[in-house]
């Protein structure tokens, strides 16, 4: 298979050399752990423990609040201290279960799922509280239950890891590739008609080589080299690159016969089924020029972000900006006193905030935002429309197709905050749509 790609996109400085050769280290947290009841898309989970309860690692502490929701498990053994609103990564205060870690890491007994029936596998995934670990946090059991399973012909593992700096998925592919393949095989067992494709950007040739070798004996799995270009790992771009099918915002990947899961998610599926282990750990890249020793850590969910920064040796210099996720789509944190949830893929610490130094000027109509937009939009026009508050026109110009990838703001020579306006426009236009219904 040749190099696959999509139209648009760009090549930011990738910064991966800081952490790509650092093996995954286990990090054990201290003190209290904080578990937000909403770490996923959909209804918040409902707490099923109360203050004073003793819990074990792997014990369910909150129950999914509906079909599109996810269970939450404790990552340590200890005592439930309180349930109260706490500041989380997205800047909102939401209800969290706070557990005092007793440092014993006493774990519940896992019961592997031996059945390979469709419903048992999906049930195991649901029970384990697995959500999309790439960042969106969509409950995986919902993804694995499409309306017409027989129409699914391609399971894509998103191993592009196109966000600069993040190397968590890369380390997983290098260290535990067999678990990735096992997870993918489990997903494939749900869809007998489907083939599995592991899509990897060609800036990770060793991962491509390793997985290609391991998949030689897997008739249903192939490894696809993707052109290194941001946002290659955006779901719609990836589906287009791998299958040539285009979907828009009103469609699901399943409409194109695809299910897309990222590397960490597939590994979580493997652990949930073959080990019976729920999702309460994930690999996090802690990096950036402000960090003493950037690296990749296996982190218990609920760990405080400030602890992670300490785990990476603390700061060389006081950072100006810290980000949860990558530099293109990640969320800037005002404080490090937030818990790492299931979707926390990276803690990025920059000693200088590039954006603050950029004063926006007038649009010079260079058209770069149009040529990089993976959704084929005109960000300069749309941001103007959004800034003027004409959200009906914003929708009419397909503004809701925006995937908020950040390419337009990145490339703009006038340093205009296009993505920010696009995000506002999209939110308001979608609200307008709901109102009309």
């Amino acid at each position: 298979m040749g190099l696959l790609t999509f139209k648009g996109g760009l090549h930011p400085y990738d910064g991966k050399e800081l952490s790509k050769d650092k093996p995954i280290q286990e990090y054990l947290p201290e003190g209290e752990l904080v578990f937000p009841l909403s770490q996923h898309i959909g209804a918040p989970a409902a707490a099923c423990v109360k203050k004073g309860d003793r819990v074990l690692a792997g014990q369910k502490i909150a129950e999914a609040g509906g079909f599109v929701s996810a269970n939450i498990h404790s990552s340590v053994s200890g005592t439930v201290k309180k349930i109260e609103p706490r500041l989380t990564v997205n800047g909102a205060r939401i209800n969290c279960i706070v557990i005092e870690n007793d440092g014993e890491y006493e774990t519940v007994e896992f019961s592997p799922v031996t059945s390979r029936e469709r419903k048992d596998i999906v049930q195991a995934v649901k029970e384990a509280g697995i959500v999309g670990l790439g960042g969106a946090g969509f409950p995986t059991h919902v993804k694995l239950s499409p309306k017409e399973p027989e129409k699914i012909d391609t399971i894509i593992i998103n191993a592009a890891e196109c966000e600069p700096y993040i190397t968590a998925d890369y380390r997983c592919m290098m260290e535990i590739p067999e678990q990735l393949i096992s997870g993918l095989n489990l997903i494939l067992s749900l869809f007998p008609e489907a083939k599995g494709v592991i899509g990897i950007e060609d800036n990770k040739p060793d991962a491509i080589a390793k997985l290609t070798e391991l998949c030689a004996s897997e008739p249903r799995i192939e490894v696809a080299s993707l052109k290194t270009k941001y946002p290659q790992g955006a779901e719609r771009s990836l589906i287009y690159a791998v299958t040539g099918r285009s979907i828009n915002s009103s469609m699901l990947p399943a409409d194109a016969g695809c299910i897309v899961d990222n590397v960490a998610t597939a590994i979580a599926v493997h652990e949930a089924v073959t080990l019976g282990k729920p999702l309460y750990e994930r690999v996090v890249t802690v990096t950036g020029d402000a960090v003493v020793s950037p690296g990749n850590y296996r982190v218990k969910t609920g760990t405080n972000a400030a602890e992670l920064a300490r785990a990476a040796g603390g700061f060389k210099s006081q950072p100006e900006k810290v980000i949860s996720g990558g530099p293109m789509m990640g969320m800037a944190l005002s404080t490090l006193d937030v818990p790492c949830g299931k979707t926390f893929s990276s803690l990025l610490c920059f000693s200088k905030d590039e954006v603050a130094a950029c004063e926006p000027g007038p649009c010079i109509r260079c058209g770069r935002c149009i040529s990089v937009c993976p959704a084929g939009l005109m960000p300069t026009k749309l941001s103007e429309v959004a800034d003027h508050g004409d959200f009906a026109l914003f929708d009419a110009l397909n503004g809701c197709e925006c995937v908020e990838c950040g390419c337009c703001s990145y490339i703009c020579p006038a340093k205009r905050r296009l993505t920010q306006s696009m995000k506002t426009g999209r939110r308001e236009a979608l609200a307008l749509r709901r109102k009309k219904k």
Partner: protein
């Protein structure tokens, strides 16, 4: 709470290095070979006029923004670029007040009155040139020169295109290299193409406008030029007049050309057609400047019909 708070902003948290300033500077850099050649070719007055033109543009922009209580943006090199382009579009021996009036017209009337950078609907330098051409036709069409590179007097100072139109023979090699009569910056097709190549390689401009423009004009000249497939005649049209300067540096002006990729193709084709009409059937032998400012006015219309198709609405990938 007495802890450190970090910067918060919407994604993305990194930015490309290119800025408005760096782009304008790159365009000025790309014009340098042709400018320096023009200085060498046409001598002292061309140099003084160029400096004057750049100064007037920068100072008038500064003054306007100062007195209108607007942010001063002269540091972005945009006004300087306008001044340089205007100077390159003037005949070598024009009196000193010509670049002064031209610079004022370009910056104040064409650019600032309409809202400044990004808002003007017409290329400021070309708007000023056409204003000067109409107002001071005699001065603006006298291409005599006392320069060290080429000495033309008033009787033999016809530009190659004017000679071509009159049915005289022209020296293609001289036109390619630039030893001909013309405006300060337009004579050397070679050096302008080198500058254009630099802009293409640095991706400051795309191929669409220059290629469609030059391609369409070639076709037009071959079809309607009355010389059949006479390559010599075609080459004279391509290397003569302001075509290379116009196609690479003026038609590609971001502000006054379409932002949509398909629109740029349409724009280039229209430019070729209008330049052809003006050159072959018009009263003057030149046509580039008028074609560009005319097509500048069509840009909003072109953009309206060339909005790109959103991903997922435009059909499937061709295998």
């Amino acid at each position: 709470m007495n802890e450190q708070l970090y910067h918060v902003s919407a994604n993305p948290h990194v930015r490309d290095k290119a800025s408005t300033k760096s782009i304008m500077f790159d365009v000025i850099l790309a014009l340098m070979p042709a400018t320096v050649f023009g200085f060498w070719n046409f001598g002292g007055r061309a140099i003084v006029n160029t400096i004057l033109s750049v100064l007037v543009c920068v100072v008038s922009e500064y003054a306007w923004q100062h007195f209108m209580h607007k942010k001063i943006t002269t540091g972005d090199f945009s006004a300087a670029l306008t001044g340089l382009l205007l100077a390159l579009n003037l005949p070598p021996e024009v009196p000193f007040w010509i670049p002064v009036i031209g610079g004022l017209f370009a910056i104040i009337v064409v650019k600032q009155v309409f809202g400044g950078l990004g808002q003007n609907f017409m290329n400021p330098a070309l708007g000023a040139r056409c204003f000067l051409l109409i107002s001071f036709a005699g001065i603006m069409t006298n291409f005599s020169s006392q320069g060290p590179g080429t000495v033309f007097d008033a009787t033999t100072s016809a530009t190659p295109l004017a000679a071509l139109k009159a049915g005289e023979a022209v020296d293609i090699q001289a036109m390619f290299l630039g030893n001909t009569a013309g405006t300060v910056g337009e004579t050397s097709a070679l050096l302008l193409m080198i500058g254009g190549a630099y802009l293409l390689i640095k991706r400051i401009i795309s191929w669409r406008i220059p290629v469609c423009y030059i391609g369409t004009l070639s076709l037009f000249v071959l079809l309607f030029g009355g010389h059949g497939f006479d390559m010599y005649y075609l080459a004279a049209h391509l290397f003569g007049g302001g075509l290379m300067l116009g196609a690479f540096f003026m038609a590609t002006d971001y502000v006054t050309s379409p932002i949509t990729p398909r629109g740029q193709i349409v724009f280039g084709i229209l430019l070729g057609i209008f330049t052809g009409i003006f050159r072959l059937f018009g009263g003057s032998s030149e046509g580039v400047s008028y074609a560009i400012i005319f097509c500048n006015l069509l840009v909003p219309l072109i953009e309206r019909f060339t909005i790109p198709a959103a991903f997922g609405k435009g059909g499937k990938k061709d295998e």
